[in-house]
Symmetry: D3
Subunit: 138 residues, 6 copies
């Protein structure tokens, strides 16, 4: 018996801004800087989803990576790709900031049920070459 | 005498969409697909600017890379970073699509004068891991 | 009038070996080393295809990158992906070695007609992080 | 006292296919898709091996990275490089699928004894830009 | 309540050598190989610092990434960039080898206080495309 | 008849500084900034050498990439790896600045004779993720 981890990568391109509606313009720019640009900005996001389990003794798969890819696409990246994260996505609440951290938590919730009986281990989201976030369901 | 080429890389993150105002919604979505999403999408862009010349016999520089970086930032990436390419940038005409190809030509025009007497050789813009464009001033 | 270059990237994974049928085993191993392993080996190939032209004044496209991608997939990467380059591909002659250099020339021939009226500029094929080849149709 | 982790990277290129001998052709293609191509396909694999321990107070090494590299090469990558993973490798049983997950577990077994008294922490194997697996010896 | 991890990347270029003063030249070259070159050598280092915590319900930040970047620059990378790690850096003791492992531990100590009340989770330092080290404060 | 280009990549890690002996300290720091740090700094350099020619009709090689690698290592990277570019390398004159641009020209001179009868096309040297230089022998 051996517990292995399998990671699948998908990508999407999206617009967003960071903006708290209850704050003044000044406070938004003070806290979020240029990320608060009213006309939006955007990123090429890279999404890495890790599942854990024992490889199947016959197929050698922790989970069929093609099946994992299909779930990631159907539940997450087809909704986020070429979208506005603040306006267009059903599973991102309007009152939550679309930060990399929050997105990993929201994506976890979208994926957990669909991936079962396989076990979700980590959702990692890379926003730029300088910033990424991870969520382990804790 | 030896002609060398020096390339400097800068990065910016921006939102845009592809949309022809004279076309119907249907035609825009038919031609541009999801790139026509009305609420915008975005990218992490990588800009590579190449100058050519003989290295200075004393400094060994074709051009001071820090100076090249400063010109690229002042003239281009500080204007484009965290911007909406269709709405926020003075040197991108509203009637032109903000495609990778058009952006390389527009960025060339912004840089050419400022870089003189050094000689601009190429403007390369990487939009995603799958698409980039180059312009050589021809 | 401005001539821009647009590059699209596609990827495929394939097996191959280098082996000259008229040579002895000894000569094959002497010339090709471990690349002559009789049971094959393989690579993740990255294919970069560049077209050149003036961006369309309305769409801003040198060529629709989605259309270019579709041609690359239909004519090349769907045939090469998860294939044996020596055995499975109709446009790779059996008497030719499936080297990176030869592959760029063969891929050019597959693409040139399909891409017209757009002008093919370069076929680049990356075999490993240490080796790539380019062909410009000359 | 401080516990640090040192990771060394090696690379190899190999052919493989996914195929269960007890299954019909139809079932193999249904489950494994194009990965079941009878004539094989291949990948550029990247192997990352992590050891943990306290840095030696004199050398500053958790483990001499050159020594770790030599063990990885001798025990693993020289056997796998330019090989057929299904046919050529002594430590890959014929009845096991050469999936990324199974390979990490098999590589762990090859390395664990040789690396002692240093402590193996993780074997990570990257198959493509979209798939990798990890094994932590649990 | 959800615990997320945020990672920020910074880069620096530095010279160093591995050399134990109490050892003979012969022993230094035997143990450290070409890393003991008396006239130094150097690397482009990539530093990844991970903090953990619950995203703020209003800003969505585990920690403001710009603030994390500023601390990393002020406390670490501005001191290390274009430096000699053996000679120029106040927080690297002369008797300690400037190995990747030791550097992660030293950088942790520099950052931990400044980052509070945020919780430092990991310091990762990439020395070359083949070697990196991590330290988790244990 | 078809002219293809083959590129081989090698890597080396080295220390250097930029410093004109005839200048005052003040002028050196004014022109070269932190690159003039007296105790050196360093980089992970990536060297890309391109040769051009018709692929051999039997081997399919423009040039045997292993042979090209061996020449690059013997003539260039074994001399530069873990060296001080200002002090340790026979083919870098002391009066010349070890800039990326100058290094491409010097490396071209080292390689051109050894590579014949194959034709050297380009020497490209990547100093950091933000700077590289190219020389085409003109």
């Amino acid at each position: 018996m051996a517990l292995a981890y399998l990671t699948r990568v998908e990508r999407f391109n999206a617009a967003h801004k960071l903006w708290v509606h209850d704050w003044s313009d000044e406070k938004n720019f003070e806290v979020f800087g240029k990320c608060a640009n009213k006309n939006w900005h955007g990123h090429n996001y890279t999404l890495l989803v890790t599942v854990k389990g024992e490889p199947d003794p016959i197929t050698g798969f922790v989970m069929d990576a093609k099946k994992l890819s299909n779930i990631m696409r159907e539940k997450v990246t087809e909704k986020l790709d070429h979208s506005n994260l603040n306006l267009d996505v059903d599973f991102i609440p309007k009152y939550l900031q679309a930060t990399t951290e929050n997105l990993t938590i929201l994506i976890w919730k979208e994926l957990e049920q669909s991936i079962r009986p396989y076990r979700l281990h980590c959702v990692k989201l890379v926003e730029t070459e300088n910033i990424y976030a991870e969520y382990y369901g804790e």
